[in-house]
């Protein structure tokens, strides 16, 4: 319990309680049957001839007649199921979250690492590793106040749905394919009234098919991609060179992020990107999670749902600009997504603190042919 600092019986008891029977308490078993049964009985109660007796303690309330109650049932049920119910539904979902703030991030990550049993599927000749990224990404248009200053003063930001499907060949020096498509765009914030913000225009690079050996989708780019580059996090060779001991991984991550100051937030940010690259081998994932568990300041934030609907625990590290979250399924140890949440001083001043500015889920499968989306 090295991350817990000095002896504090109250905190230790709270953490131990928060961890005990966690899998059962986090179970996401469907409650649909229970809900349906309740709705059937509620509908029957609403239309029955008798209302429950009033409590002698009640001091207010108006009991309506049978016909009125039945009529209200029909009207209200329609309203509840309709699109207008969205905010209430959202609120209800928020209310249903369990408090996980007392869990120790170190314990969650180490437990998750213990549970990783998945092995990477062996690719046969001619097959492809299929990686699908379902993202909500921020697209900002910003105007800097003065030349040389990095903080914009005016602008706007959209959150855009983007799907990227990537096919990586057995031999990564062969051609890769990435299909990109963008969907809905939601205005996250702006320095001017929303009505004056220009409509979102999809970026050309967010759509279409990209092809290239070694994942070199932009061959004209200045920073030339090199096949088998051990410094390129998108290529499998990068991960083959990494140590497996968590302490050695932390030291390596510190060194790798030295050009950015090696702050805990920076190390965590890069670590998340690597875990969620879709090409980190399963044999390294457990040790990598144990390494992230050793970074100062990582906390269990809350229960979170990924963009493809999977539920897990968000573990985050907050800086004043942004909190980066890694989303882990505590039952399987799988890394199921990542996201960014604006901190107290967001990078773009028109974004409210606490706003989710990116949300990504990653799925990997094996495809028999390039361009073919594997079945579940």
């Amino acid at each position: 319990m090295t991350d817990r600092g000095d002896h504090n019986p109250d905190r230790e008891l709270d953490e131990a309680l928060a961890s005990l029977h966690l899998e059962a308490r986090m179970s996401n078993r469907s409650l649909d049957d229970a809900r349906e049964q309740l709705m059937r009985e509620a509908a029957a109660e609403g239309s029955s001839a008798s209302l429950p007796p009033k409590s002698p303690f009640r001091r207010r309330g108006l009991v309506v007649g049978v016909a009125a109650a039945a009529a209200a049932v029909v009207g209200a049920a329609v309203a509840f199921g309709g699109g207008t119910g969205a905010p209430a539904e959202q609120q209800a979902q928020q209310g249903a979250k369990r408090d996980v703030s007392l869990l120790s991030a170190s314990k969650v990550l180490n437990d998750a690492a213990d549970k990783i049993t998945a092995k990477d599927a062996e690719l046969k000749p001619g097959q492809f590793r299929f990686v699908e990224f379902k993202e909500q990404s921020s697209r900002s248009v910003a105007k800097l106040s003065e030349a040389g200053k990095n903080t914009p003063t005016t602008g706007y930001t959209y959150l855009v749905d983007i799907t990227r499907q990537r096919w990586i060949p057995v031999d990564p020096t062969q051609e890769w394919l990435e299909k990109r498509s963008s969907g809905d765009a939601k205005l996250l914030g702006s320095s001017q009234p929303a009505a004056e913000v220009p409509a979102y225009e999809p970026l050309p690079t967010d759509q279409g098919d990209l092809r290239g050996a070694c994942g070199d989708f932009f061959p004209k780019s200045q920073d030339k991609k090199v096949c088998g580059d051990p410094n390129d996090t998108e290529q499998p060779q990068f991960y083959a060179a990494l140590p497996h001991d968590p302490d050695a991984l932390v030291a390596w991550l510190k060194d790798f992020t030295a050009h950015r100051g090696s702050a805990p937030g920076t190390m965590f940010h890069f670590g998340i990107s690597m875990l969620d690259s879709g090409v980190m081998p399963a044999s390294l994932r457990g040790d990598f999670l144990r390494a992230l568990a050793k970074i100062d300041g990582v906390k269990v934030v809350e229960e979170a749902t990924t963009t493809d609907g999977r539920k897990g625990l968000a573990l985050g590290l907050e800086t004043e600009n942004e909190r980066r979250d890694l989303i882990v399924d505590p039952a399987t140890g799988d890394v199921i997504g990542e996201r960014s949440v604006a901190g107290p001083k967001p990078y773009d001043p028109w974004i409210k603190p606490g706003t989710v500015t990116s949300n990504i889920s990653v799925t990997t499968k094996v495809a028999d042919a390039i361009g073919q989306v594997p079945a579940n």
């Binding site: 986090m26 409590s55 001091r59 207010r60 209310g95 369990r98």
Partner: protein
């Protein structure tokens, strides 16, 4: 103005001071009110119950809790306490039929952690995890040895996240009793955990 319109007007007038924490179940349409109640509380309630009696029994108890709540909705007075205490009170009562399962579960957890503790892993990097496992073992043991009332107060507070006043409403005891009971039970469990730490130091 007919009676439905009257009722709607009255509800609209009252809307600002009526929130989801204190729904007027007796006067609301049951379908709407209970759909909302279920969507707001079922998942968290399931978590609380699953921690105590396992996920399978929790599935049944969640369904049962809301059905009992529906039938007894007139007994809930929003002016007396928020809905959570009342709802978790029903659930906790229903879970009492499964006390043996609950205690068996805690004893099993204590055994599992003890077995892992005696395992063959000796790598220095897992020392922290061994500590955590020992803590879990002692905590599970401690929970199994508590009285039913003590466990109710502790787990309604810790796992369900209820405030003392809500726990009081759930268990039908004064809030002052909840606070003193909680204080006592936490001390008892901390003694169990101290034992775990002394063992860790001896290794």
């Amino acid at each position: 103005m007919n009676r439905i319109e009257e009722r709607r007007a009255e509800q609209a007038q009252r809307a600002p001071d009526v929130d989801d924490t204190r729904p007027d179940l007796a006067n609301a349409d049951p379908t709407t009110a209970f759909a909302r109640l279920f969507d707001t509380h079922a998942r968290a309630l399931h978590g609380y119950l699953a921690g105590r009696v396992g996920v399978d029994i929790a599935d049944d108890l969640v369904a049962e809790t809301f059905l009992v709540a529906l039938r007894r909705r007139a007994s809930y007075d929003p002016e007396q306490a928020p809905i959570r205490g009342w709802l978790y009170g029903i659930a906790t009562n229903l879970a009492r039929n499964h006390i043996r399962t609950e205690i068996r579960g805690f004893r099993a957890s204590a055994r599992v952690h003890a077995l892992r503790d005696a395992g063959v892993e000796h790598d220095a990097q897992i020392v922290d995890r061994l500590d955590a496992q020992r803590t879990s073992r002692h905590l599970a043991d401690g929970l199994a040895s508590l009285t039913e009332q003590e466990r109710d107060v502790l787990l309604l507070t810790s796992w369900a996240g209820l405030e003392p006043t809500e726990v009081a409403a759930a268990l039908g005891v004064p809030a002052s009793t909840v606070r003193s009971r909680l204080h006592r039970v936490r001390h008892k469990l901390q003694a169990h955990l101290r034992t775990a730490q002394e063992e860790n130091r001896d290794d």
